[in-house]
């Protein structure tokens, strides 16, 4: 059984994480980790409930979201519909009261339905390390994952999110309407100049070993008017870019196919 440590400051927490390395796991809402707690022997659980990370601070141009903010609080605090939709797709109401923004970003596939929304919205992640604070784009964070597992960057303390520029949409393909794992989850944020897409961020989870942005799909729509041909090209590019897993919910075959379908559907909403 691991030992629970509940540091009282961010510095202390960052030190514990640095000291214990792979033996340490950060315990936030506990909705994923608590299941694995008893079946593991040894190690440390580092609780983040005493670190004051449970607030959302509004900035003029966006929000600073504490990593331990529960999903139900995020939904009330940040009125971006694509992000609010994401918070409703993770477990039932009890889970949404417990699971945190930061914790969900570390969820193993096919879980982690918040990530595509934050990838599409261009969030930045701030980590506390033993050597001080470091900021990373969320796509760089996911680029650092190996074998479906996150890098050990330090303690995620907050998520910086700018006000929505352009239009964003979010869809989860799942076997049931509520409280169920993703087949594939897609979010996109598109900026248009006149009728032409000037910038696009298209992000996926469930479809790959970890959440990711999909540059090939983005390139397919940038410069287009989001016409059917561009959307089809983006959908095909996304299908080609992912390496989905097979699990009890869906096979890799079905996940890849739904990647295309749902990239298409999300972009159609934004067209």
């Amino acid at each position: 059984m691991p030992e629970l440590l509940r540091p009282g400051s961010i510095d202390e927490a960052a030190d514990l994480i640095a000291r214990h390395g792979a033996a340490a796991a950060v315990l936030a809402g506990g909705t994923s980790l608590m299941r694995e707690t008893y079946p593991s022997d040894g190690g440390y659980l580092i609780g983040v409930d005493r670190l004051g990370l449970d607030k959302v601070v509004s900035r003029d141009d966006g929000w600073s979201i504490g990593a331990a903010v529960p999903l139900s609080v995020l939904r009330e605090a940040v009125p971006i519909p694509a992000l609010q939709a994401a918070t409703r797709e993770i477990g039932g109401p009890a889970v949404q009261n417990m699971a945190t923004v930061g914790g969900n970003l570390f969820a193993r596939a096919p879980f982690g339905d918040l990530a595509p929304a934050l990838l599409a919205l261009g969030a930045r992640l701030v980590f506390a390390t033993a050597d001080g604070e470091t900021t990373q784009s969320i796509e760089d964070f996911y680029a650092g994952w190996t074998d479906g597992a996150p890098p050990r960057t330090g303690l995620l303390t907050r998520i910086e999110l700018d006000a929505l520029a352009g239009a964003a949409a979010y869809m989860k393909c799942a076997r049931r309407r509520y409280s169920t794992p993703s087949v594939v989850t897609v979010a996109a944020c598109v900026q248009k100049d006149g009728g032409t897409v000037s910038d696009a961020r298209i992000a996926l989870s469930g479809a790959h070993a970890h959440p990711l942005r999909c540059p090939a799909a983005e390139q397919a729509v940038i410069g287009s008017s989001l016409d059917d041909a561009a959307i089809t090209a983006a959908a095909q590019a996304a299908e080609a870019a992912v390496a989905p897993q097979t699990d009890a919910v869906a096979t890799d075959w079905y996940r890849r196919r739904m990647t295309g379908v749902f990239v298409g559907r999300v972009l159609a909403v934004l067209a």
Partner: protein
């Protein structure tokens, strides 16, 4: 007996336990609290098919909070059993705790009893088992192909052997081959169902509590208290009167709580330690260890006349029993006896086989043997209707069994009301039936 004569039968009087449920005051087996209660966790096979080379329990015994470790050597009575042995079903094929071999992933090998559920779990995780893996077989037809390894010596070709050396539960009624020869159409198809978990909200479990008098009280959520008690006694070689089983309020069953899966080892642990012992399946065990509904594969061949009469039906079924028999031979007999569904067909041939594979043993679930039969037959009926271009409602009504008909298992039909049920459903669906079909009744062939 007409309804008018009845008083409280037929009336909606509520349900007795509902207020207790709504208040959270219903007592389930694990809602009794005993001081100094121990917890049992099982070390299970990691391999679907392997010889056991070595079992080392020393680290488990030394694990903090572990009180007792039980292997097959500790079993005072039977080493293998079958729940229906008392009514002559055999052979007893399933180890209580595996000894020489494991035949499915999840098979119990060593029970570890600890001061807490966590101590027992941690101890069970420290049991070391060395395996010599064997090739596994997972598909029912492959298992019977002659190419597959035999799981046990009882069944050389991996199928159950019914009395008189029959490979299947059989129905032989009329002459199907002659029926096919006379038929205008032959309609064939293959059907497959999946293993399904009963998934009661409350997992299998029990608490065995030694009394001071040499008796042991078992709080259990079994669906059959006497059956569970008598089998527990038989397995452990105890006089049944030494055991008192208490139950009756269960958090869902659906056929998932008939296996006597937790009681014998819990009673043994309580006898060994003199303390109350609780053994509750985790949800993971409930999903992958407890019996599932059997998966079935069926091949149906029908001979059909142009006017819609089905004149012959031949069915070959494979019930995937998993590694051991449990109640599968019963399930296949029920399956065969149910054929050919609610229809009167003059020529019926059924072979319903129980097949052993390296999958978790399957067992009963809501509609044992019948659900798969109904599924396949009703899909087949639609295919027949489409093949001959007949309204599927009319096809069913034309062939529906009537009172007085001889069924394929040679019992004269009684209490039939299939025709009336289909007619009422057609009305509910807004499906118009011709006058002659509306006039049909379940009594229109009965000699009066």
């Amino acid at each position: 007996m007409s309804m008018k004569e009845l008083g409280v039968v037929g009336r909606n009087v509520g349900q007795r336990d509902l207020e207790s449920h709504a208040r959270g005051q219903t007592t389930y087996y694990e809602d009794v609290h005993y001081p100094r209660m121990l917890h049992l966790k099982m070390h299970r096979s990691a391999e679907p098919h392997a010889n056991i080379v070595r079992v080392d329990t020393s680290a488990a015994e030394a694990s903090p909070g572990v009180v007792c470790v039980l292997t097959h050597e500790d079993l005072p009575g039977k080493k293998v059993w079958n729940g229906l042995a008392a009514v002559g079903v055999g052979p007893e094929d399933e180890p209580i705790l595996a000894f020489d071999k494991v035949r499915w992933r999840g098979e119990p090998i060593v029970a570890v009893i600890g001061e807490s559920a966590e101590a027992a779990r941690a101890g069970a995780a420290k049991v070391e088992v060395e395996y010599d893996p064997l090739p596994g077989v997972f598909d029912v037809e492959e298992a019977m192909s002659g190419e597959a390894p035999a799981l046990t010596a009882h069944w050389p070709n991996n199928h159950y052997i019914y009395p008189d050396d029959h490979a299947a539960a059989q129905i032989r009624f009329g002459d199907v081959e002659q029926g096919f020869a006379e038929a205008d159409h032959i309609v064939e198809d293959k059907y497959q169902t999946s293993p399904i978990e009963q998934a009661p909200m409350e997992t299998n479990g029990c608490i065995a509590k030694p009394g001071g008098d040499g008796r042991i009280t078992v709080h259990t959520n079994t669906q059959a208290v006497h059956f569970a008690r008598d089998n527990t006694a038989a397995i452990l070689g105890l006089a049944p009167g030494k055991l008192r089983f208490l139950g009756g309020t269960v958090g869902g069953g659906f056929g998932g709580k008939v296996d006597v899966a937790v009681e014998p080892i819990s009673v043994l642990a309580a006898m060994r330690t003199g303390r109350p012992v609780k053994f509750k399946y985790t949800r993971e065990e409930e999903m992958q260890v407890s019996s599932t509904r059997s998966a079935w594969r069926l091949f149906i061949k029908d001979g059909v006349m142009n006017d819609g009469r089905i004149v012959a039906r031949k069915i070959t079924s494979y019930q995937d029993s998993g590694a051991y028999l449990r109640f599968s031979s019963y399930g296949s007999m029920k399956h065969a006896g149910h054929m050919p569904g609610p229809y009167t067909i003059p020529n019926v041939w059924v072979d319903a086989r129980v097949v052993f594979t390296n999958r978790p043993p399957s067992s009963a679930m809501r509609g044992f043997g019948v659900m798969a039969a109904s599924f396949a037959i009703e899909l087949q009926m639609d295919k027949v209707a489409k093949t001959i271009g007949m309204d599927p409602w009319q096809l069913r009504l034309l062939n529906a069994y009537r009172n007085g008909d001889m069924r394929a298992h040679r019992k004269v039909n009684e209490d039939a009301a299939m025709v009336e049920t289909i007619q009422a459903a057609a009305r509910l669906a807004g499906h118009d039936l011709p006058a002659d079909y509306q006039a049909m009744t379940s009594w229109d062939r009965k000699a009066s």
